[in-house]
Symmetry: C2
Subunit: 156 residues, 2 copies
């Protein structure tokens, strides 16, 4: 995983509220997520560990930030799922990757995906999956992913 | 959700070890999952709650069993993911649905999917997703799901 100069990757912190909400808005509806809700979700994410190793988080919300200003440039998450199949294997789910409008064209999406994938495999995943639109398949193929199935959904 | 006579649905229990492992083998590799591993994963699943309501489990491993013999006829899970998007929304992930060879042709898969979907929406999901092979799309469409994206994977 190579990161352009001037950026670093770390776990989401409470101070990232505004930058994360603004960055996720590129992706989809965030709605009126208050600072209080954001902070309590961050607390919750920090409170859930995996059973095979308590130092491993179930949720791994991560941001790429500007090293000088700490501005959020990209955000993403990998959630680890404890299964029974594959000898009690762990499957990683990459979710909600977004790059801020101000920082696009610098391959930050690819860098974040690489970071989250490495983190997943280091945490014991036998596979990592993600869902994407047809138009993004080529991008993920360049990142080492391959098409495997169809995502289906039901909305409330 | 309608269940054929003679069956009931409940949360997985430790006593289901043999039936669950046998049923999941229809689906994919389970490997040498020992009773001890199974029991500790069940304990772990029972220990992780959602932050907005501590009575709601993150993992909802469920079985359809024969009311008389308690034999496992089908197994499935819905995992609830706490997001930031959609005002701190919850996304349900349906995983690892399998019907035992001895109980196929009774629409147990459809019944279990309906149960898990209801459980997800009652637990606050704004959407529920699952990944399936092309050949199963029609079945899930009959259950109210629609195709939305491509699943991609990376293996270790």
């Amino acid at each position: 995983m190579t990161l352009p100069e001037g950026y670093k990757i770390r776990r989401i912190e409470k101070k990232d509220y505004e930058g994360v909400v603004e960055t996720l808005a590129v992706l989809t509806t965030v709605g009126n997520l208050t600072r209080e809700q954001f902070e309590s979700i961050v607390d919750y994410w920090n409170s859930v560990q995996m059973y095979h190793d308590k130092s491993i988080y179930k949720y791994n919300p991560s941001v790429i930030v500007d090293v000088n200003t700490d501005e959020v440039a990209a955000v993403g998450n990998i959630i680890l799922e404890q299964k029974l199949i594959h000898e009690g294997g762990i499957c990683g789910h990459i979710e909600d990757i977004a790059v801020s409008k101000n920082h696009q064209g610098k391959k930050l999406g690819k860098a974040l995906l690489g970071y989250l994938s490495d983190l997943g495999f280091q945490s014991g995943c036998y596979k990592i999956i993600l869902d994407c639109n047809e138009k993004n398949v080529k991008f993920y193929e360049k990142c080492g992913y391959s098409t495997t199935a169809i995502e289906m959904q039901k909305r409330k």
